[in-house]
Amino acid sequence: MPWGEFKDTAAERRLFQRRTLVVLIVLLVLMAVLIARMYQLQVIQHETFSTISDKNRVQVQSVAPTRGLVYDRNGVLLAENRPVFGVTIVPERVENLEETLADLQAILSISDEDLARFERRLDEPRRPFQELPLRYDLTEKEIASMAVHRHRLPGVEVDAELVRSYPHAEMTAHALGYVSRINRSELQRIDPVNYAGTNYIGKSGVERFYEKLLHGSVGYQHVETNARGRTLRVLERQKPVPGEDIRLHLDMRLQTRAFELLEGRRGAVVAIEPETGGVLALASVPGFDANLFVTGIGVEAYRELNESLDKPLFNRALRGQYPPGSTIKPMFGIAGLDSNTTTREREIWDPGYYKLNPRGRRYRDWKRSGHGWVNLDSAIAESCDIYFYDLAVEMGVDVMHDYLTRFGFGRDASLDVTGASEGLVPSRDWKRGTKDEPWYPGDSVNMGIGQGYNLATPFQLATATAVMANRGRWARPRLLMDVIGRDTVHDFLPEDNYEDIVLDNPDDWNFIIQGMRNVMHGSSGTARAAGRDATYEMAGKTGTAQVFSLAEDEEYEEEDVRERLRDHALFIGFAPVDNPKIAVAVIVENGGSGSGTAAPIARKMFDAWLLEMSGQPASVVAGALAGEPQ
């Protein structure tokens, strides 16, 4: 104690006690503030915070349905789903993002595109602990090295998702189409609820047409998640309905054969079963590997495909519009007889050219010396142009347009084949509309041999051939054979509502078909070489389509130019004549003559289907499923 100071202990105590009283009041007030605050949060705003709390922990997750599988008619798998592994990063759990990315780059190949996409997602607003995708579709080797290195890369995860896969790659791309990531414009039209968990959608072909059937219905689960988004338990769940598995009329053996026959060429083969309209083969060569497009094709690879001179991305079978050439003649034969423009017996003199009027231009026959006297039967067998020039002028454009349309030309006759072109059947109206010119008789002359404005796709030629084989009965071409587990396919296919071609004299069918038979088997048939030594009878018609123009600034090797200026070789046909099982259209681009190039291919298709494959379903085929998928 310091000295000399008077300490009044009693006064000091009283002073302290007064201060304590003040402090006590302040303390009670502050305590009341805390309690009031708690009351405000816990009692007054309880509802609000309860809701926030539930929203925090309970999340509705969509469960994507498994996409339906696609089989060929024998149960060979054409489209399946394979697990694909990707790498995701949870930035909150990564200590040093740059280092981690550098480490990952040593393990995986990460393109600049991948990095840019990742960094874009990083900058967007997001929930903490949300996973951001970095790379899709790891290779086996990358999955293995990720497994080795993952322990030292916290926050890096390997995720799996089911992705479409096409085991037959190039051979089915044009027939099946493919799926790919949903893009912005598709987002606008799809049902956002049903596609909540789906990343892929059918872009073309069967995958697109039967998108609804193959996709299935989304499922849900209410899950309790922690702050890191990790699912702790499932509170409630509604299972997704997987997509339907479907079976196509396509026969993978025949499809493969078509590819083999067109090997090294550019062209298309379409085979249809006339009875059902089922598409047995739909080959466009060269094809492309649709698997590349599923997870997203690289810019380089896409450019290479897109700029290739052989146009592998172009679906020649469905979208290749060629002048049908002489293959149109049997249809005009039907038109001529049914419209009473000509008769079976009528003969005309073919000097090797045709003139509309005595001083007019000469329209040449392919055979410079001419065929001499020809009737309809021999005009078809020998492919006489003069007869059909004359017939076309006699019939006039209106009759030709009418009959060609009834054969399915100029319109998309397919039931479930997406992306088929309509081709072109010219008419007076069409010409006035597009060229602002009247229809000249010369136009009819050209049209009579399938040149001029006429355009048809191989698919349309095969369809018309099937109608011919059916003697006028329509079975619109289709790919879907059945939906596995369902009794009827009618619920899924559009209405097969084309009017059959009924002739005044139904025997005219057999007359024209006889002409087509003579193409193959007649002594002067244009394709008699292709029809030789057959154990069955076939009907056919050859054709050539001239290649008109080549842009002058395109630089090709001289060899190339010569090759690519050659005529397209065409052929249509069906077999057997009396009980048609298969109708085929073949086009070989720059293949030269229809009889030399296209007809032998069709013959081999007939042989394959009628002799090798008929009555021999799946079990013999390598790669087929062990049993029927049902």
Binding site: E12, V23, L34, I35, Q42, V43, F49, R127, P128
Partner: protein
Amino acid sequence: MAARDFLDQRSANPLSVPKGPWSLIHVDPILLVLLIALMSFGLVVLYSGGDGSIEMVQAQGIRIGVAFVVMLIFAQLDPLVYRRWAPWLYLVGLCALVAVLLVGVGAKGAQRWLALPGLPRFQPSELMKLAVPMMAAWYLSRHYLPPRLSRVAIALLLVFLPMGLIIQQPDLGTSLLVGTAGVFVVFFAGISWRIVGAFFVMISVAAPLLWFFVMRDYQKQRVLTLLDPESDPLGAGWNIMQSKTAIGSGGWNGKGWMQGTQSHLEFLPESHTDFIVAVLAEEFGFVGILCLMALYLLIILRCLYIAANAQDSFSRLLAGALSMTFFIYVFVNVGMVSGLMPIVGVPLPLISYGGTSIVTLMAAFGVLMSIHTHRRMISA
């Protein structure tokens, strides 16, 4: 029972010497019972806040045991000893604080620990929570009270010097607690209300200065986040919003022990340390909060009673300051978790996981018990 004792003893002669077995071991049974009740409740909440980790409860139990031993030891020492050693303790603490700034260790950008060879690691700022009020009480009680203005100034200087050093670490929470302890000593000493008024004016002037010259960016961010948590829902605002959600969703009766979704699903940050009161509020509801607040209030009232009945000025000032510091702990922690105050690193006293603050607090309670049980027949 406790409340009745409290009322009974209010009228008792302050100069009387307590009798009975408790005073022999220098323990105040009322305070002891209240502390045990609070810490037991705390362990129950901690088990849930640590997501059912029995190891965490065991570790905390051991710390509590150590803290009780420390309390007992501090209770045995006569208040005279504290008064005698106060300046030296203060000097040692000050040197240690300087040493921390020079050679300290720590994590997350803060240097708070001193690792001297041969000694266990310790946090000098914790020592100052006791040493600063002791020093201020020692200095002011040497002369008659209320103190002259010049002595007040020197006392405040003694308080602000270590406070400034602790801010430099940086550790805003501890420096506030140390400062409050010292300032309460000065207040209890009876400075005139004019000075108190001037002090508040000074603070309101100093606040903007602090904002621009002293506070670090992360501290400013905390203040801004408090004012508008939604402005940064994914960053700093996340903590406040999640803890308010935890508290609010508890309602009257809570979601039940171990049933708190906010804490168990890891939405609530630091659910076993600084934010443990949100776990309690979520699982035990408003009723649980009332119980907790009642326990704290009873403890503080008992401490203030001890202070009011202390025999000399030094003891009174020290006891009063320690009691109020304990309250400030509670107020700052609950205030920050419920979104009334910015987030400063202050644990919920005696409940949050972690040993340092419990040992310091129990040492303070030991000092209070010492003051209450060491009585002389003649006033010093």
